[in-house]
């Protein structure tokens, strides 16, 4: 039997500011060289457990600890964060904030600088580790010109040379597009396999993590460990659905449509699943969705050009957006998705071309009455003291009468399900509630079109569902055109009818979502990837479109 390198015994933790314990009675041994996934919905305590491994608890976040936690044989309470940093290397979720250096090289060197390592030795080590994570050619690049994936790579390199035993990754995939996420998982796997590092990944995106082998999965809920199982055992149980984790799509389809699993092993890879029992499955030919007649063009762009610093960037020949459409705006990081959104909302003034918006608004303030823009980070949108004032702000600034304001705000709060909280201060809201409020803020002006920048980033499955169902409802009931900027391919499939793929500032594809998301050529071009539901359907020789529709329908019904 190997000896555990991390060991929790009857461990509990309570933050000073909170009344209840965030971690309850944790018993867990993590062994040398193991690759472990800590899985759980938001608020399950998985990040807190991570803080106990790298020493942020109790050094940075204070609270009361009971029970025992040994890291490399030494009690957590007695270790300083510096001692632990020599054993545990941490990569945080926010790749931007943790990038303290002014270039890739400096960021990688940061830990070495702190050890007062002579410069020559340091330069050599930096070069070595940079080569290991394949970022050596970018050593002198500034943080602002790096993609999320490159920043994450630099962060990984920054902890590698410490000769650490344990690699702790806190939601490493959160800001990455599908292809970058895949590469990140492969890199982590290599470090585990080749360098024999113990790896602890904290994530809720299970399918992406399972792209490579995982030894054990720890499932957490409400501060407790509810299961420690091998991936196969966990995937064949019904625990995932029970605790709000999205199952891999192909498994979900097998379980819900094809009559359940017939094997108990090798479930982590679609390639290894024996599909012969399902060969006879026939998709019911669903009646074509009574596609709404989108006739009225509410926004249109013609020969629009825009450049930052004289480098031509955005170039859109022709784009029409109609009332009631559901559009997904796809593309890799830095392709120009957000810039296009800013052009539509009038934040960015274009250099050349024509933009038509219904009712011909001119200023940003007027455009907001037609197009609402929900930013990715709700904290950048919320400025008032309580919910009612927040929603009312835009109306007050436009000098609406008090009766009008009351009526409109209450109406919007009812639609968004925030009415009962209307007097709550903003600061007590959860991230998901803030997100919802930021949509309400836009709805107050009664726009015909909503643009949502990464509406589900960093949210677990339950909140993802809630958010998207809510947006879908807005579209259905009020005929609001919705445009999502997203990396989540299944989200695009499920909640949009039309997809635009952006590459280097140009729209390279504009078709219905299904045909785009099954077109490998386009997907490869823009760092996107097919979802496993496509692969499954293809392997069964089924009609992709019908199979996916049926799957989405089934899932929706179960969720309701």
């Amino acid at each position: 039997m190997k000896k555990p390198i991390i060991s929790f015994k009857n461990f509990s933790f309570k933050y000073h500011k909170q009344q209840k314990e965030t971690l309850k009675n944790i018993n867990l041994d993590i062994f040398q060289g193991e690759k472990l996934l800590i899985l759980g919905a938001s608020g399950s305590g998985k990040s807190t457990l991570g803080y106990c491994i790298n020493g942020l608890i109790p050094n940075q976040y204070h609270g009361s600890i009971s029970g025992e936690c040994l890291i490399n044989g030494k009690s957590l309470i007695k270790s300083s964060i510096f001692e632990l940093s020599k054993i545990v290397g941490t990569v945080l979720q926010d790749s931007d904030a943790q990038f303290v250096g002014l270039s890739v090289a400096e960021d990688i060197a940061f830990a070495l600088e702190n050890k007062n390592m002579p410069r020559l030795e340091m330069k050599m080590l930096v070069k070595q580790t940079a080569e290991k994570v394949k970022i050596a050619e970018k050593l002198n690049i500034l943080p602002h010109s790096l993609s999320g994936g490159q920043k994450q790579r630099a962060s990984v390199a920054g902890i590698l040379h410490e000769n650490i035993d344990i690699l702790l990754l806190d939601e490493p995939l959160a800001a990455l597009d599908p292809v970058m996420g895949k590469e990140m998982i492969e890199l982590i796997d290599e470090l585990n396999q080749v360098d024999n590092k113990t790896v602890v990944i904290i994530e809720h995106r299970l399918e992406d993590v399972l792209h490579r082998h995982i030894d054990r999965i720890v499932l957490m809920d409400k501060g407790e460990i509810v299961a420690v199982k091998t991936p196969d055992d966990l995937l064949s149980s019904d625990l995932l659905t029970k605790y709000g984790i999205r199952e891999p799509l192909y498994l979900s389809a097998i379980k819900k449509m094809l009559g359940g699993l017939k094997q108990k092993n090798d479930l982590t890879n679609l390639e290894k699943i024996d599909l012969t029992p399902f060969k006879d499955y026939k998709v019911t030919n669903l009646p074509l969705n009574s596609t709404k007649n989108h006739s009225e063009v509410i926004i249109s762009l013609k020969d629009v050009k825009f450049s930052y610093d004289n480098n031509e960037f955005i170039d859109i020949k022709n784009l029409n957006i109609r009332k009631g459409e559901r559009i997904a705006l796809l593309g890799e990081n830095g392709s120009g998705k957000s810039t296009i959104a800013k052009i539509l909302t009038g934040i960015i003034k274009i250099d050349k071309g024509e933009i038509f918006r219904i009712n011909n608004p001119e200023t940003i303030q007027e455009i907001a009455k037609v197009i609402g823009y929900v930013m990715q980070n709700p904290n950048q949108m919320l400025v008032s003291d309580n919910i009612f004032d927040e929603v009312a702000l835009a109306l007050r600034l436009r000098n609406y009468s008090i009766e009008d304001i009351n009526e409109r705000v209450n109406n919007v709060l009812k639609i968004t399900g925030l009415y009962s909280m209307r007097n709550w201060p903003i600061s007590v809201l959860s991230y998901g509630q803030k997100k919802r409020l930021s949509v309400a803020v836009c709805l107050a002006l009664n726009p015909q079109c909503l643009i949502l920048d990464e509406p589900t980033a960093g949210q677990d499955y339950r909140h993802y569902r809630e958010m998207m169902e809510f947006i879908a409802l807005l579209n259905k009931k009020y005929d609001i055109t919705t445009i999502f900027i997203t990396h989540d391919m299944h989200l695009a499939l499920e909640y949009s009818d039309r997809a635009l793929v952006v590459k280097n500032g140009k729209i390279v594809a504009d078709k219905d979502s299904e045909s785009i998301l099954s077109d490998e050529k386009i997907l490869n071009l823009s760092s996107l990837k097919k979802t496993s539901i496509f692969d499954l359907s293809e392997k069964l020789n089924l009609n992709n479109s019908n199979f996916i529709k049926e799957f989405i329908e089934k899932e929706r019904r179960i969720n309701e």
């Binding site: 250096g101 002014l102 007062n116 340091m122 934040i347 455009i367 950048q380």
Partner: protein
């Protein structure tokens, strides 16, 4: 793309100044500034001004804010001179104890040769100080600055404060812009043509509160990230961006020490009234 808007440099070219080590730049900067501030003698100020003007020219870039700073300083100082002259038209004469009349408005408002020299000295001194500060800012990256400050035997915590502040300015600027944009969509008018100054100030404070909140969140994260990588465990620290001092660096450092020496000598002589309060030919 935000790079161009800022005066802070994040990458350097290869002019003489830019290629120096951080420590050299910091020493040269401090010695020049101290000498310039200490003296009131055109024989020192004029050569110093010319040298630093050349330095400034070698790293000058077309940046709007740069032009604005220079013009603003000039205008404010000329205004200052006029007021100064109106209050006391014979400052130069009082300092040098000599009186050479050049022009006479009336019995009180006269222009003396000494006063002209006084104002010339002053303007070169002020513009020279500005040139020194600007070439310094334009020729150094935040990390060089940090390693330079540390190289001058100042504890590295101060160096980190400076470099980290500069590292995150573009990020905070981006947050500020995002919040500003979202507020504009809500209906806040920030266009100077449409809203009064008072209204714009109120509007900007609305942006400030979420900006502070977002920034505090970020600071907490940065602090954690730094702790996790062992920041602050030792009293000493090395810098990746540090450079070995070249021969040129050595020479420039000697020159900087020479400037410091000059400043000290000048100050001491000045205390014993050996040098004139204002040098006139």
């Amino acid at each position: 793309m935000n790079d161009a808007k800022f005066i802070i440099r994040y990458s350097l070219g290869d002019s003489f100044l830019e290629k120096l080590a951080g420590k050299t730049k910091v020493l040269l900067f401090f010695s020049s500034i101290i000498l310039m501030m200490a003296s009131f003698d055109l024989r020192i100020i004029l050569p110093l001004f010319i040298l630093n003007f050349l330095f400034f020219k070698s790293v000058y870039q077309e940046i709007k804010i740069l032009k604005f700073i220079i013009i603003f300083t000039l205008v404010m100082n000329i205004l200052n001179f006029i007021l100064f002259y109106l209050v006391n038209p014979t400052t130069g004469t009082e300092l040098s104890q000599t009186f050479t009349l050049l022009f006479k408005f009336n019995d009180y408002y006269v222009i003396t040769y000494e006063t002209v020299i006084y104002f010339i000295t002053r303007i070169f001194k002020i513009i020279g100080t500005l040139m020194i500060s600007l070439w310094f800012i334009l020729s150094i990256t935040p990390s060089e600055l940090a390693s330079g400050i540390y190289g001058c035997k100042i504890p590295y915590k101060y160096a980190t404060m400076v470099s980290l502040g500069l590292r995150y300015i573009p990020d905070i600027y981006r947050d500020f812009n995002a919040i500003k944009e979202s507020m504009q969509m809500r209906g806040i008018e920030l266009d100077p043509k449409k809203a009064s100054l008072f209204k714009r100030i109120i509007a900007n404070t609305k942006i400030l509160i979420p900006l502070l909140l977002v920034s505090f969140e970020r600071i907490e994260l940065i602090a954690s990230a730094m702790d996790l990588r062992g920041y602050g465990q030792l009293d000493e620290r090395s810098y990746y961006s540090d450079k070995d001092l070249t021969k040129t660096d050595q020479k420039v450092i000697y020159f900087a020490y020479f400037q410091l020496l000059c400043a000290v000598v000048y100050i001491v002589l000045n205390m014993f009234n050996v040098v004139p309060k204002l040098w006139v030919l």
